[in-house]
């Protein structure tokens, strides 16, 4: 069943892809026998054939995900989106502390240790990546002014 639903969703997407390939993509002028539309057309036909085979004869597999696991997964994905959302505004250190603590706590780490892990990951990650390897990570809009005043105070 899960196979069929998944294949059906993909089929809708692929049909959209095919419609665009057959109607919308056009080069204003071209010298080659194959334009930008031919390859997507071939691919869409192959994909549709594959999907039809799967719809016709799906493997009968149990999609054994309990409600509890669904909840965990949704929570994890929500946290990832939240982490991505806060990455620049809060900066690497704060957002990582937050994300590391909450996710490891949800996955069963004792609360204090989770906090320790989050803080360690945020601070050590920053020191390792920015100070040592010179990679580009967000300071954070909230933190940046602090850094600046600090630097001004030094200079």
């Amino acid at each position: 069943m899960a196979n069929r639903i998944f294949a059906a969703v993909l089929l809708v997407v692929t049909l959209g892809y095919a419609v665009i390939a057959f109607t919308a993509i056009k080069a204003p002028f071209q010298y080659d026998p194959l334009g930008p539309e031919s390859w997507p057309r071939i691919l869409s036909i192959v994909a549709i054939l594959c999907l039809l085979v799967i719809l016709w004869k799906p493997d009968d597999e149990a999609f054994d995900v309990t409600r509890k696991v669904w909840f965990r997964l949704t929570a994890a994905v929500a946290m990832l989106f939240g982490y991505a959302e806060l990455y620049e505004p809060l900066g690497f250190i704060l957002s990582t502390i937050l994300f590391g603590t909450i996710l490891s706590a949800m996955l069963g780490a004792p609360l204090l240790r989770a906090l320790g892990f989050g803080v360690a990951a945020g601070v050590a990650g920053w020191l390792l990546c920015v100070t040592l390897m010179d990679l580009n990570l967000p300071e954070g809009e909230l933190i940046a002014p602090l850094f600046e005043t600090h630097q001004q105070g030094e200079s």
Partner: protein
């Protein structure tokens, strides 16, 4: 032969540069650490660390040496979790658990680990030697390939992928097609027409390769770890003081030799990597030497065969990647993408145009193999301790590493949403038994496939018969057909035999 020797000289000059030498060591060490983490295989390790290696801004050859070291190290490290935990890091390590874990349970963990290290070393070194002999010759031959031959080569690659990888041929084919379709997003290089961009400026240049790889492998892996979290903790067996003896080596030397040959040649086949190689090597060895039925109960030969084979296959799968530009496995597809990011087109011309990259990589593999053996024998206890890292810290760590890697490329937070979205998609695919390697392979090869098809038809003025007009392409189509038909035929025959046996009994 001369080209091989002078090439190797160039390569060692690059690889023995102190900085590159250090990178080989660091790569091997980090790779082994990653490989030893339970459930995190080479492909995920390389995928997660690739953007970081890219972000460091090294020379192409240095970055590639680092990545190859990680890849190699991860293949080595994978056996640690297979043996001590009975949890294979990836499909290539499944066979290692069959005899490796029983040995460890019988109190010979040290012996199993050191024997598998030696077997890996032998397989890996054998593959690198064959590779340095074969690759230039194959590259020399591949220079004569025209666009039509390349199209045939791609068809062959996808045919062997579809027939040998994954449980369902249709699903593998669909996966490869999804990869090819993802690769069409962005501006068409020949005509400048935007395709499937929907006016979004973020994807005008196409979806970044790193985003696809980190999303499909790294993030999907993370979600799988979250899913499995509820199902109890893993228990690691202790590493003891037992060690591989000369008698063990003497007993397994032919096993290792056979498995290395099998592994290397299966690795060369485009699309098939360590998983097929180790399975075939184990099966062969079982048929040849399992006279007392000890395989599966902790027979050293049953451990040595898949280990030698999967490391030989790791080397073998580099051959088509370096000489033809067609990766032999999912992980080499990622390395190929890494080369493309440095504006190096892998393929027959690479040995002539960028010898320092091609040969530097080959030489670094010689060094890497030795380094891995040296690192692994004394430090195995340290790596084994990685297994005790609780999953609830490991999981967030993967996300943090992936975010760092992706953010450092261009500093665009939209990419972070993209990898998460692709991760969800990848998790569904995995859950439904699609293998992810074909998608990456399709994505990496998409541009090359389309370009060659269009070029071939431009040459012929639109006449499709150019695709089958010379013996090289015809041979490749014949091989493609063979790869698809042979397993089906063998399967039928095996089933018929089984039925006949059942009837006689």
């Amino acid at each position: 032969m001369d080209t091989v020797l002078s090439g190797l000289a160039t390569g060692f000059a690059v690889a023995l540069d102190p900085f590159n030498l250090m990178l080989v060591m660091v790569g091997c060490f980090v790779g082994t650490l990653i490989g030893a983490l339970p459930g995190l295989g080479p492909i995920n390790g390389v995928a997660i660390l690739l953007p970081i290696a890219y972000g460091l801004g090294f020379q192409p050859e240095s970055a590639l040496i680092l990545l190859a070291g990680i890849y190699y190290g991860a293949e080595y490290g994978g056996r640690i979790s297979s043996i001590l935990l009975n949890v294979p890091g990836d499909a290539g390590a499944v066979m290692t658990t069959l005899d490796g874990n029983p040995m460890a349970r019988a109190g010979q963990a040290g012996r199993a680990l050191s024997l598998s290290a030696v077997a890996s070393f032998a397989g890996g070194t054998f593959a690198v030697i064959l590779m340095s002999l074969f690759a230039p010759a194959l590259a020399g031959f591949a220079v004569t390939f025209g666009p039509a031959d390349y199209v045939a080569l791609m068809v062959f690659a996808f045919a062997s992928l579809a027939s040998l990888v994954g449980k369902s041929t249709v699903k593998t084919l669909l996966g490869a097609t999804i990869g090819l379709m993802l690769a069409t997003i962005g501006i068409d290089a020949n005509t400048g027409v935007p395709r499937y961009t929907f006016g979004l400026p973020d994807i005008l240049a196409g979806i970044d390769f790193l985003i696809v790889v980190v999303g499909l492998f790294g993030m999907a892996e993370l979600l799988t770890l979250v899913e499995h979290q509820a199902r109890g903790t893993l228990k690691s067996l202790p590493v003891d003081k037992s060690f591989v003896s000369m008698a063990d080596l003497a007993a397994t030397k032919w096993t290792i030799a056979r498995a290395s040959v099998i592994g290397f040649f299966i690795g060369i086949l485009p699309g098939t990597g360590a998983s097929v190689a180790s399975a075939v090597a184990y099966g062969t060895e079982k048929r040849i030497s399992d006279k007392d039925g000890t395989f599966g109960t902790g027979d050293p030969r049953g451990l040595a065969a898949p280990e030698a084979a999967n490391n030989a296959a790791a080397g073998g799968s580099m051959v088509p990647m370096l000489t033809l530009g067609i990766p032999g496995s999912g992980t080499t597809a990622i390395l190929l993408g890494a080369l493309l990011m440095f504006n190096i087109q892998p393929g027959p011309m690479m040995f002539a145009q960028r010898p320092e990259v091609a040969w530097g990589l080959v030489a670094s593999m010689y060094i890497g193999n030795v380094a891995l053996l040296v690192i692994n024998l004394p430090l195995v206890g340290l790596f084994a301790r990685m297994l005790t890292i609780p999953q609830h810290y490991l999981t967030p760590l993967i996300a943090i590493l992936a975010f760092i890697g992706i953010y450092t490329i261009v500093g665009n937070p939209h990419d972070l949403f993209m990898i998460t979205g692709l991760g969800v998609f990848g998790w569904f695919l995995r859950k439904l038994d699609f293998s992810l390697a074909p998608i990456v392979l399709g994505f990496v090869l998409g541009g090359l496939f389309e370009d060659n098809l269009r070029r071939a038809l431009s040459i012929s003025g639109g006449d499709w018969s150019i695709l089958v007009s010379n013996w090289k392409s015809l041979l490749l189509y014949a091989l493609a057909l063979l790869v698809v038909i042979l397993p089906i035929w063998l399967g039928r025959r095996a089933r018929a035999n089984a039925v006949r046996e059942a009837e006689t009994h």
